[in-house]
């Protein structure tokens, strides 16, 4: 059973660096341990979300595709 997603960000169509910048802005509103879901179409976002989670310490718990977009689920540190 998957945990509850607190917030979903629709970042479809947005180009670098907006998917990451908007995720960083949005995750500030979450509490530690809460999940944020991000949907992006920028092909660069696959590498960017991975790199972003590595440096920030937030956990990339899911990565896949949904609604013709890349889907990332991130647990706030």
């Amino acid at each position: 059973m998957s945990a509850q997603i607190t917030r979903t960000l629709d970042l479809k169509g947005l180009s670098c660096p907006l998917p990451i910048v908007k995720t960083a802005q949005a995750i500030r509103e979450l509490r530690s341990g809460e999940l944020i879901e991000a949907l992006a179409t920028d092909p660069g976002s696959v590498a960017d979300f991975e790199a972003w989670c590595t440096t920030t310490g937030n956990e990339l718990v899911e990565r896949g595709e949904a609604d013709e977009a890349f889907r990332f689920v991130i647990r706030k540190k």
Binding site: S15, L18, A24, Q25, A51, W52, T55, G64
Partner: protein
């Protein structure tokens, strides 16, 4: 949905060394649209990655911090001439190449909108929201006759080269 085993996007050594550089200093020297853009993209990204990010604006870079409504800056005719030949402000930047009397930047901004690339002005707002420190260079402000009143809100105190280099000592430093 199951987690996909996509190609590893981050080289292995990054995992071990990522904590080394937690600071980013961008020396924003250029006032060309095609250089201000990467200044803003890298600053917002650095801040989003949790890096303590500072942009040090000097020479032509200072003019992108001039308020939109301010056309002429400077005290004497030479300083005023600089602003007259090159209108200050984030919305009036020229391209470093293919400017074509302003047609180039217009086309570039149009393309950017189509591709949902944020404008430098929008990115500057995001940078401020993410806590990027925007620091003007005191010496070039004096040289070019720019005052705090000419410039946008939310800037740090103007500093000199020493303060900037001190900040840059343990940071990734980019000169753009």
């Amino acid at each position: 949905m199951a987690v996909q085993e996509a190609e590893l996007a981050v080289p292995a050594h990054v995992h071990e060394e990522h904590s080394k550089h937690k600071k980013l200093v961008i020396i924003a020297w250029s006032g060309d649209l095609d250089k201000v853009w990467p200044q803003m993209i890298l600053a917002t990204t650095g801040a989003a990655m949790g890096m303590q990010t500072t942009i040090f604006f000097t020479f032509w870079g200072l003019f992108s911090l001039v308020k939109d409504g301010v056309h002429i800056t400077g005290e004497n005719w030479m300083q005023k001439m600089v602003a007259m030949m090159d209108r200050p402000g984030m919305e009036h930047l020229k391209l470093g190449k293919m400017n074509f009397a302003g047609a180039g930047p217009k086309m570039m901004r149009h393309l950017a909108k189509e591709h949902k690339v944020a404008s430098p002005g929008e990115l500057l707002e995001m940078a401020q929201d993410l806590g990027v420190r925007l620091v003007p260079c005191q010496m070039t402000m004096d040289l070019l006759g720019l005052t705090r009143e000419d410039m946008i809100e939310g800037l740090g105190e103007p500093v000199g080269a020493t303060a900037m280099l001190l900040e840059a000592q343990d940071a990734i430093t980019l000169f753009i």
